[in-house]
């Protein structure tokens, strides 16, 4: 079985980010005083629990980033032909989830569809009833056994997960000498998570744990696939916003005068245009461009991905203003501090003052603003998908999920699970990111760590 690796634009960006993070980590490891605040992060149980949750999301996102195409069985003139469908390692791992597609909506753990259908019964009469699902609980012959079966599988899977968790603890304690794994909160969080994952894995093979959507796709699968889109929107957009906001905001605050005037005019003008209109206009232009150059994209996935990356750029270009304004204000305050004047009296260059004195002292604002933005961006994607200028309709994201679920909210009985799943996953992701950023900010604030250093 052969395959061909596919690198989408967003994949390359993510690998670039990973490489940068790796280099930064390597640099920090070699400098004890830079490592110190991270040790404080490691000691905070809130930080470590949220990091654990975050890393699960990251793992899913990263596995979903390794793309490839399978070779098709037939060949054309000795040359291998690859499937037009681009899959990721994650897709392969959860193959049953991806392929077990029902006809239409079904409730979580349901054995039947959510809508009645006309079908022939044993006697050949046409009756209207809820048909059994093709995959969900198909192994059960007796419908009444479902609850017992769910419980049994959950217990078995959970137990296995717990066992794996305990085993990994045992191994890590032997090798790591209980460095950070000793924290009770972290240990119990790990065990709860492994148990939960075990139970879900064991159930998901035969049930639709979170139900199915309109075209019968498993909602759990959709939610997990949405994580990558959310992470990309959050991080790549940040990558665009951050340099703009940081550089322009700090420069405006520090240099004052005409530099300040120009930067202020730019962001005042930019933020006075209704952002949804601006984004919609830019997205439509971008879409036109992509449609006109269809030959640039040999694969459907590449086209969808190009649209995602462009969306990130557009969101980035329109959303740096608020952070820029915040940083300008803070810099105006900082530039009057006496340590800046001391540096000026040494003739230290402006660039160096900006990077050595001002930027480290505005980082706490940057960190908090970025995490807040992260959640706002994931939500913005949902809003934009709602008005039809978000990600490509073929791309699975929280926005498309919510948008699809929205139409069914008015239906009686209500289809609630798609929305609830998207809500739950986003909540956990954003909450974990917020808590982690909070802990990191505290660890980096020298004033809060006075007592610890004194001892």
């Amino acid at each position: 079985m052969s395959f061909q690796l596919v690198f989408l634009w967003s994949d390359k960006l993510i690998f670039l980010l990973l490489a940068a993070a790796g280099v930064a980590a390597w640099y920090v490891r070699r400098h004890e005083h830079l490592l110190l605040p991270w040790r404080r992060v490691a000691r905070s149980s809130v930080a470590m629990v949220s990091l654990l949750v975050l890393s699960l999301f990251l793992a899913v996102g990263l596995l979903d980033t390794l793309h490839f195409r399978m070779a098709l069985p037939q060949t054309s003139g000795g040359e291998k032909v690859y499937s037009p469908e681009v899959l990721s390692v994650f897709d392969k791992l959860v193959d049953p989830l991806r392929t077990h597609t029902e006809k239409t909506y079904s409730e979580p753990f349901a054995l039947t569809l959510y809508a009645k259908e006309s079908m022939p019964d044993a006697q050949g009469n046409v009756v209207r009833d809820y048909p059994r699902l093709q995959y969900g609980g198909a192994h059960l012959t007796d419908v009444s056994q479902r609850d017992a079966d769910v419980l049994k599988r959950a217990l078995v899977g959970g137990g296995l997960g717990l066992l794996v968790g305990l085993l990994s603890f045992y191994l890590s304690h032997r090798t790591l000498h209980c460095a950070s794994g000793c924290d009770r909160a972290v240990s119990s969080a790990t065990l709860i998570l492994t148990t939960l994952i075990g139970a879900v894995v064991s159930l998901a093979t035969v049930y639709h744990v979170l139900g199915t959507d309109k075209v019968g796709q498993d909602v759990l699968y959709l939610s997990l696939k949405s994580i990558r889109t959310g992470l990309i929107i959050g991080t790549v957009t940040t990558l665009v916003t951050l340099p703009l906001a940081l550089f322009l905001g700090v420069a405006a605050g520090y240099f004052r005068g005409w530099v300040d005037d120009v930067i202020q005019y730019i962001y005042t003008v930019l933020s006075s245009i209704p952002s949804v209109l601006l984004i919609a206009a830019m997205v439509l232009m971008m879409q036109m461009f992509i449609d006109q150059h269809a030959d640039w994209f040999d694969l459907e996935a590449k086209r969808a991905d190009a649209r995602l990356v462009c969306l990130c750029l557009i969101l980035g270009i329109t959303s740096w203003t608020s952070l820029c304004r915040l940083l300008r204000g803070e810099t105006l305050k900082l530039r009057e501090m006496e340590y800046i004047q001391a540096a000026q009296s040494f003739g230290v260059s402006s660039l160096r003052i900006l990077t050595r004195h001002i930027m480290p002292n505005v980082m706490h604002i940057v960190l908090i603003a970025l995490v807040m933005d992260f959640s706002a961006l994931v939500l913005a994607e949902a809003v934009l998908s709602y008005i039809g200028v978000g990600v490509d309709p073929s791309m699975i994201s929280f926005g498309t999920m919510i948008n699809a679920a929205r139409l069914e909210m008015g239906r009686e009985p209500m289809v609630w699970w798609a929305l609830a799943a998207a809500f739950g996953f986003m909540l956990v992701l954003v909450l974990a990111a917020n808590l982690f950023a909070d802990a990191v900010r505290d660890a980096f604030d020298p004033r809060l760590n006075r007592t610890e250093n004194a001892t």
Binding site: H33, E338, Y339, Q341, S345, F346, R356, P446, R450, A454
Partner: protein, 660 residues
Amino acid sequence: MSLFKVDKLVTRLRNGATIVDGISFDIAAGETFALLGESGCGKSMTALSLMRLLPDGVVNTGGAVQMDGAALFDLPEHDMREVRGGTMAMIFQEPGLSLNPVMTVGAQIAEVLALHHGIKGAAANARCIELLTQVGIPDAARRVDEYPFQLSGGMKQRVMIAMALAGSPKLLIADEPTTALDVTIQAQVLQLLRETQDTTGMAMLLITHDLGVVAENAHRVGVMYAGQIVEQSTREQLFAKPLHPYTQKLFAALPDARRSGQPLSAILGSVPPLGSITQGCRFAPRCDKAWALCREQTPEWTVVDGRGVRCHLYQSAEERVLSAESPRASDRTLGTQHSVFSTTHSALLQVSDLQVHFPIRKGILQRVIGNVKAVDGVSLSIPQGRTLALVGESGCGKTTLGKALLRLLPATAGSVQFAGKELIGTDAARSTMQMVFQDPYASLNPKMRVAEILEEGMSALGIGDDSAARQTHIDGLLDKVGLARESKWRYPHEFSGGQRQRIAIARALAVSPQLLICDEPTSALDVSVQAQILNLLKELQQELGLSYLFITHNLAVVEYLAHEVCVMYLGRVVERGTTEEVMRSPKHPYTQALLSAVPRIDGAGREYVKLEGDLPSPANPPAGCHFAPRCAHAMTVCSHYPDASRISTTHQVHCHLYNK
């Protein structure tokens, strides 16, 4: 019969550290009781405990407070609200922060009147005007409708006092009421407080760190240290003969002219952090008379000759004799040693007719419609190894002058020559002049370690060949300013105020300057720490032959440290001369007023020259002699700016009184 009585007051942090530890005192009607102490010793927390206004996380855990027979700690919160502002009022340190900026002065006073006396409407307005007049605000009928930003600092503090008086309190708690004010304004406010007390007969609890203020206003004094009152006596007794070693040290640490040859007797270290000492006397680690007992056993409150003291020295009669004469054990012989540098009197820094103007712009086209003449034609010169003090009230342009010399601000006109080289318009010779800033908490980047802070100047100016050479240099600097070498890997917040100022001095010295501009380097520090820093500066001058331009408003420091003095008023130098000449026989009326406004601990008998009003705005200074509108000797000729008159070869004054 005392009006107000505090008995064994204890206030703690919720986590257990004791902030105020068993304080007892009483105040009679018409009496001023001063709580004297350095920052962090629990003075303000005592005041807040008495008002039951403690911040979150701080709780009262014991003691009783009697006000006019009523136990304040037993009152329900509703009744306590009547007491606050009604029978007890409080004024705070920072008048700029104590008034609501969006309410008129009158409305804020009327609030108190409505609450405590039920006076409203026209009657309240009339009473407001009456109160403002009482606290000496001119044109009160107009001021009553003004907002706080329209008033100067001194005016705001007067309004605060008027607000406090509005409830006709029996006890006024004044928490550092003059610390944020200039000396001339401080003198006005202190006098106002005395007069108000005379007319209303209220009791006053005065909280201060300034021995001079105590000498002016207090009847009885409690000296606080680390949450305890260590000594309590009448003002006369305290100033005649302080008993507790801490009080003795505080007096000894005060700089003044008589000590200018010798180092000040600084108290080692700084006030211990809250709750860090649980056993023994809290002053023992810094006390040079401490013996084993002091570290083991907490001294009891002892009454000697009708005054109380908390010290083992006084617990048995024999030892009292021993302590009465306090030889200064920490005196070093540094003062007698002569500087290795011959003090040549050729000017190292020569400033002539320097002007720094800030344009005022207005309108869409930002046209310049005027100038704030922050520095308006100042000339001065500093010889090598000498100290020139630049004295004046806030807003007179002394800091602007310092910054212009360092070219942190562009000079509008004039010349600055350093060792014969013109500096204005060039970026050369940055290493020859450096600055030590006022606030050691703002002058060090919190995100940089000490070594990085010290290295920055060297790398910017290309001093030192490589990193290793610089590190050796940094070690040397830390030795020089009296800090441990290991401390270079720590962050600034791990140091106390005094230590931070040492780091700031080391940073300036890192590039081997010949002239240090010290901008109020001790005004943010406690008296005992101030003495350490002044000693250090003096040592460095003798060792390295440094020249100092010492910018300050603290005249005692000037007498102690400076060789020459320039007095600035509204951007101009009004008088200059040697320290002896200016301090002993001031000629300019402004200098005379400034000197007389300084509270002296030897107090009585000085003639107080009252200065009316506030410093005019430098955007719109009075024509001619800037001081004329506030001057008692103003003449018609004062509408022209006076030329310099020579009193002696070194003493010059800009005043028509001395024009021949």
